[in-house]
Symmetry: C2
Subunit: 134 residues, 2 copies
Amino acid sequence: MVSNAVSQEFARKVTTEGVTVAEWSFMRALYDEEAVAPSVLAEKMGMTKGAISKLADRLLAKGLVARIESEQDKRAHSLLLSAEGRAKVPVLASLADENDAEYFGVLTMDEREALDRTLKALAARRGLRNIPAD
Amino acid sequence: MVSNAVSQEFARKVTTEGVTVAEWSFMRALYDEEAVAPSVLAEKMGMTKGAISKLADRLLAKGLVARIESEQDKRAHSLLLSAEGRAKVPVLASLADENDAEYFGVLTMDEREALDRTLKALAARRGLRNIPAD
DNA sequence: TATTGTTATACTCTATAACTATA
DNA sequence: TATAGTTATAGAGTATAACAATA
């Protein structure tokens, strides 16, 4: 219930910025790097290359992502954030923070810290690493 | 990440029983009651009546849900679990328990209790009540 | 008119698998 | 052949809005 409520509300918030949650995840994954091959992104996000291809199409159409062709390998290319896309990431990140603050604000500081610690321990012990797309 | 991992794994598990997570939520919502009007179910599950209608169609086709027509109001009907559907709920519930045990089993008893307590407090303070469908 | 449900339409998310171009 | 991506197809999940039947 908690996770659903938090992410539904976040979805509503990012929509006002013209992107979906999956698109945000995609952009966030690109933010850490210069340019990334679709196949690498698929691995990083735990999605198929078909799904990445479709998401990339939409983000290219929105002008938030750009692509550069590989010169060594004519099949390959890399994806990167456009200037506009890169500028948008902190805005979306602050929506995420705001959303978290809003939801978890009803907890005491101790509760928040305990929750944070426990979830991080869980993720570490289970080796979770995929960026959630929804 | 945690929530995504848990629910993706659960989705995989229920699929082996021939239902989707949304269908499971629907069945779970019916389990507490005799027969429920689609409109009431929509309210309870936080979905539109159109979405309920579509889900109900699938569950009727699978024989897990049945409907009874209202005699007072010829527009209305109620939905209820079929015998097969009712028998399936505990099976699916045990998959959910198994899944939770599997995921949260890497936590100590203290960590699990703290997590449980905090999430329940959060849900209570935020007045969350919708059954998550995904 | 108002209400109960259904249906039409649309979009996102995602997978699988077939396909194209290149290596 | 093998690999990088794209595309075709499909189905789930869901919303909005138009609609039919009945109240």
